[in-house]
Amino acid sequence: MGFVLRRLATAVPVIIGITIIAFLLIHLVPGDPAKIILFGTEATPAQLENLRRQLGLENSLWQQYFSFIGQLLHGNLGTSYLTQNSVAHELLSRAPDTLELTGAAVLVAIVVGVPLGMLGGVFPGSLADRAARAVSFLGVAVPYFFLALLLVLLFSVRLHLLPAISNGSISGLILPAVSLGWGYAAILTRLVRGRLIEEYRSEYVKSARARGCTEWRVLLRHALRNSSIPAITTIGLQFGNILTGAAVTEVIFGRPGLGSFLATAISNKNIPVVQGAIVLIGIGYVLINLIIDLIVGAVDPRTRAAGLA
């Protein structure tokens, strides 16, 4: 319990930092935010004045920040400049799509990466190992957005097997999940392979074998369990990258998720949406890492005592 509380306590300053950065955004854009927002809309001076008041621009920076935090605590992320709808509502309506994509990509990474890594770790130097290393080498070397374009060209444009843009069904999820997940699968393959080879050399594996454990038991119960900790930690650390990748992948496949929403908001200078998305994605990232820490703690009691993961 103390471990969980400690982890939670360290998350708080990180989240406060995220809110400060998100808040300062509007002031980092050069020029009068109200004018920038209304540019090109033939706004009247009265509209400008209204917007300034609405944004609270005449208050001090501190006052503005505390009112921003106050709103945030009430779940209010402001109103989208573009649509006049609630930012919180718009973000939450798009979050499931991003969760679906990142979840599917992590699944691809695990389902593809771990078995390939096991193959290489158990039979290092074999033909299977060399094939697995080639696949993972490509996965690490080829950027996901390039892979996405190649997959679309082959499976959608040429073969007409899978949709080029998402269509709300599972078939529309395959290409984005594979292109986003492949690179992480490659990382996992290399990691699991390397750790397994190391674990197989250790004393406890020798003693398990000496006790008469089957090779399967040695692999699954002993070696793999110990190899899984860095793998789980890596998934957590990579999660930020997966979210970034999801943004680009969503744009390529026309998925209505947080990432494509954020990309549009940035080009529209829709600051409340950008702020809201930063806060939401930032907190999501902190939470995922918190959960990963807890999982690692559950798998490996040593980390609980040490307080690190």
């Binding site: 090109g40 509209q47 959608s156 080029a164 843009i165 026309g254 080009s267 829709n270």
Partner: protein, 565 residues
Amino acid sequence: MTDLPPRQAHSQVPGLRAMQADLSRRRLLGAGGTLAAGIGLAPLLAACGSSASSGSAGSGKPGGTLTMGINGPPDTLDPGATGLALTLLISMTMFDPLVWWFPGPGGTGSRFVPGLAESYTVSPDASVYTFKLRKDVTFHDGTKFDANAVKATYDHVVDPATKSKSGLGALGPYKETKIIDQYTCQIVFSEPNASFLHQQAAGNFGIASPTALKKYGPTGFGNHPVGTGPFTFVSYQTGDQLNLVKNPHYKWGPAIFGSGPAKLDKLIFRIVTDDSGRYNALQSGQLQIAMSLPANDIAAAEKAGTFHELTVPSIGTPAGLPINVTKPPTDDLRVREAIMYAVDQEKLVKDVLFGVDTAAHSVLTPITPGYSPASAKLYSYNPAKSNALLDQAGWTKGSGGVRSKNGKELALNVILFADAGFELPTQFVVSELEKVGFTAKTAVQPFATAQASFNSGVHNLGAFGYFGTDPYLLNIWVNSDAIKSGFNWSHYDNPKVDAMIAQANKTADTGKRNALYEQVCVTLMKDAIYVPMWDVNFPFTTAPSVKGLHTTLNGYITFHTATVG
């Protein structure tokens, strides 16, 4: 992936294409982004070339679903509130204006076609417009259409709570809508406003159900649009797609389209912000129309021969470079004329813009009312003449090919704003100018910074472009009151031109008005205050199954008679 390809970028910028932004983003009224209607460009207009009002000739089997890929999300579905041309492209399928404005027979000129008004009259000073309304029209929610609805719609646009981004400006000096009887109303302006007939057809003033306006409120209406158009709103999955079905009761459509209900059963607008994503989805058959593909994809699609290209020319001021008439050396008319003669727009369009756009030669595009063919013939590409003019002005060529006078080089300060697609075309222009002895320094600035530079006048050449349906738009960028804070980035101060434009906007007679505007065009070109570069064209790439699309004069396509069978 964060770099927008130039075409898409255009659409989002406030400046020029900016003005036409992609039908959507800050692309001003543009289609793709946020473009605001006034400034952004959007999907422009009408059919180009051969067929006047029909983009894709013929017609196929009725029924079926057409999915069109658009390049960004609409800001709202309320045409009165929107700042995006993209929204207007969509909303024109759900709303009808009082009077339509279409290309003329054979594709040349223009004509007004009755919409929800059977007829109209304009007072001689163009300040009172009287409309006789149709009596057989019903909104999608069952509300009967009458003068009340017209008043509710126009009052809604000017209601501050609506936060209208482009409609309010387009409406001008609106005073009130007077209900004369149930089917007669007058739209009254506090001063003459001859541009109103063009403006009311441009999309912002589709007539809205007064019942729905009341029920959902001034901003809520944007999520629940209810009009009288050929398609009825079903649902909008935010950021994903917009679903419409045909309105089976529709019988008040433009007579030139046969007036009856749409032929399609369903119409879907699918948001695909990635340019190549739209092209891929068109190739995989998920889309039947893709808007605003990048020029290289359009060129590829044309080569493949699988798809059709419907190019809609723009209305307003072409993309170009305002020449500052107050800063040396461009304060000398001969220097400005030399610049005009040194630029080969045809080559620019062919080499730099993949031939998707059209060479521009005047301050208005050819389909814009008031366009003067004479003004477009004043300067043809002639570097020898440029050289002669510069010699005459006392600028002599030095050893490096750069001209100078009294020890000063013939140097131009060029300032552009970013993300509007000006960089490459301007590089081309600068290289042409260097051939006749100019030297130039080019800076690219964020829009807000560039705008401040232009207003302060530190540039010799700037960047501009504007999408608008009425030549009164010249007022926003050549009027002397727009120098310090507006769009008069040529710093051009000519009381005669100010007066001619004001006079034109007070003239209800179309022929006389256009004659005045033509005179303005000639004066501006003679004074050499603007280097026109290209007329922005809006490309719609369609699958061969798509037939019966029509184009309007203000940059959109209509789906009344579209088929996919």
